[in-house]
């Protein structure tokens, strides 16, 4: 079955919606845009598409290598497509969670979080280092289960499209039943926030139920407005620096490692890990915040 790339088809609509949100933000005062930041986000998106197209063969080659070992062979049907969409989102949750908890993967994913703004252009701030990460490992089980390779690529695109529109401050909260099941702008604002209470939460792509099931769900509070970005925000709009800063940090840490254990931990431990514990991890930041909050309450 031949399918168009849904992301390529959606791209003009992405741009139209970015412009619409920008104009609305200016007229209403809801939402923030910064021209250099927006340009950087869009250029990151552009670079990501180019790199993705250049290296798509890696995914296709690996998928075709694994396909003969598939335990079943699902054809195309709406039921299979729907089941696959849910399964793909479940695996996305774990991939995304790992991308925040393993520095190797964070080196790539940090690009998406590197803006201090949260608008539709931020959704397009995608990383360039995908080919340097083992993303395929998370989708390999789907090939081995016997889902068609074009379906895997197509649904991945649909998942990305869904995640575009939730990058906005313009939309508040939806009715409770929707907020309970779906990933929404409110849930994803929490995910992009650096407020200690919000760190490492709401990893969902489409269905927020995964976060609720696996204990990573945090609700957005009116008295704790999200502050976006990363714990140590970048002082550059240079897309090459944005794309490479964490990779350079990772490689220089590995080069400085005193033994294999340290090198291993720099790669696989959570971002911020250091042998002497002198750097902050999200866990240490949360602990500091909780102890200060408790001290203030006493």
């Amino acid at each position: 079955m031949q399918l168009s790339d849904p992301v390529a088809l959606a791209t003009p609509f992405f741009i139209i919606l970015v412009i619409a949100e920008m104009v609305y933000a200016k007229l209403s005062g809801h939402g923030r845009f910064e021209p250099y930041d927006t340009a950087a986000s869009l250029l990151m998106g552009f670079g990501s598409v180019v790199i993705g197209a250049l290296f798509a063969f890696i995914f296709l080659w690996m998928a075709h290598m694994l396909q003969p070992y598939g335990i079943a062979e699902f054809g195309w049907s709406w039921l299979v497509l729907a089941a696959y969409f849910v399964l793909d989102d479940f695996l996305y949750y774990w991939w995304h969670r790992a991308s925040h908890r393993v520095r190797w993967l964070w080196a790539d994913h940090v690009n998406h979080h590197s803006s201090q703004h949260y608008n539709l252009s931020t959704a397009l701030r995608q990383s360039w280092g995908g080919p340097l990460t083992p993303g395929f490992v998370f989708r390999a089980p789907l090939v081995l289960l016997g889902f068609p390779i074009p379906m895997i690529a197509f649904v991945h695109g649909l998942n990305l499209i869904y995640q575009f529109w939730i990058h906005t401050e313009v939309i508040g909260k939806f009715p409770r039943v929707i907020e309970a099941v779906m990933n929404t702008p409110s849930h994803h604002r929490v995910h992009h926030a650096t407020n200690p209470a919000y760190l490492d939460s709401n990893y969902a792509g489409v269905f927020i139920v995964w976060d609720r099931m696996f204990g990573t769900f945090v609700v957005e509070r009116a008295d704790d407005r999200p502050r976006y970005g990363i714990v140590r925000n970048l002082a550059t709009f240079n897309v090459f620096k944005i794309a490479t800063h964490e990779w350079i940090g990772l490689f220089s840490d590995i080069a400085r490692a005193k033994n294999l254990r340290e090198a291993f931990c720099y790669i696989f431990a959570p971002p911020g890990w250091s042998p002497d514990g002198s750097r902050d991890t999200t866990n240490s930041l949360k602990k500091q915040w909780i102890s200060l909050r408790n001290a203030a309450a006493e």
Partner: protein, 136 residues
Amino acid sequence: MNPLYLIFSLGGVAMVAALCAMLFGLQGLQIATEKTVEAYLTQMLPAFRARSIVLGAGRKTALVENDVDGSILLVVAHGDAFVTRRLSKTLLRAVVRNGADLSVRLADFTLPRAKLTLGDPAIATLWEAKLAGVTP
């Protein structure tokens, strides 16, 4: 990949960025007063109480002493937001004073240096001395 598609996409990026600049301007943020920095850091840090703050003449950079733990923070206006660094022995590479100008060099890929024009050489000397405590 079709080169026309690439050119068209880059043109689209330029158009959106230009529209954004028209709507929101390119002037960027300035640090209005010491109170601005204090309010910002109080919100950002789990434990902060300002001991002393000095603003650079361009109102783009500030040095702040945190009374809670004695640390020194560098705050830089970047676009319409602030970027903060807690100056430590591993981060701060060098401090150079030239009259009333104070330059700090950092081991930071996206913020390798910052310069503050402090107006008074005595103030620059005072902060140079404070930073000597964290310089390796």
